[in-house]
């Protein structure tokens, strides 16, 4: 899983039929300082999140392992909202 920050939403009219009905969000991976920005992904939202929130995404074939994404042409899915990250010093 990857820790990401939600950057915004993606609008697409012409897309694969199996993606219809999904909210697609633009996310960017972040480090544990929650600031260090990395790779971008366009992920299918399975829980209902918005811009600025922290989340966990799964990528690859694992993204098809939720009830809503099963059998869909999706390789990145948001599966959790992150409220807090605790680290040992």
């Amino acid at each position: 899983m990857k820790l990401v920050k939600i950057m915004g939403s993606v609008t697409s009219t012409i897309k694969d039929d199996t993606l219809k009905g999904f909210k697609l969000l633009m996310v960017q991976t972040v480090g544990t300082d929650l600031d260090h920005a990395g790779e971008y992904f366009i992920a299918a939202d399975t829980i209902g999140l918005g811009e600025g929130e922290l989340a966990l995404i799964v990528t690859g074939s694992t993204a098809k392992h939720t009830e809503t994404t099963r059998g869909k042409n999706i390789d990145a899915a948001i599966v959790a909202k992150v409220d807090k990250v605790n680290l040992e010093k």
Partner: protein, 95 residues
């Protein structure tokens, strides 16, 4: 899925039989500023995407196999959507 810009297409006469009938496009992975982030790639396109479009693509081989109704196509990556717009906190990127 990943963000990319379509920069061209590819024509191939001699190819693996399972690649017959599949349109191949050359895409360049980009970031939100439109800056290229890696080398261009070749992916399948079944949405009739126009050159210059901003798209998202899936990095797998299953999607094109399902679309073509064939098993074991030696191809990885398919365009799965054309982007109309990306709404960010302080700006909107048009596709």
């Amino acid at each position: 899925m990943r963000l990319a810009k379509v920069i061209g297409n590819a024509v191939s006469v001699s190819k693996h039989s399972k690649l017959e009938g599949i349109k191949l496009l050359v895409i360049r992975p980009v970031d939100l500023l439109g800056k290229k982030i890696s080398r261009p790639l070749m992916v399948a396109d079944y949405l009739n995407t126009a050159p210059g479009s901003l798209v998202f693509w899936i990095e797998d081989g299953v999607t094109i196999c399902k679309w073509m109704g064939r098993k074991s196509i030696p191809l990885r990556g398919s365009i799965t959507g054309q982007i109309d717009s990306i709404d960010l906190k302080d700006k909107v990127i048009e596709g």
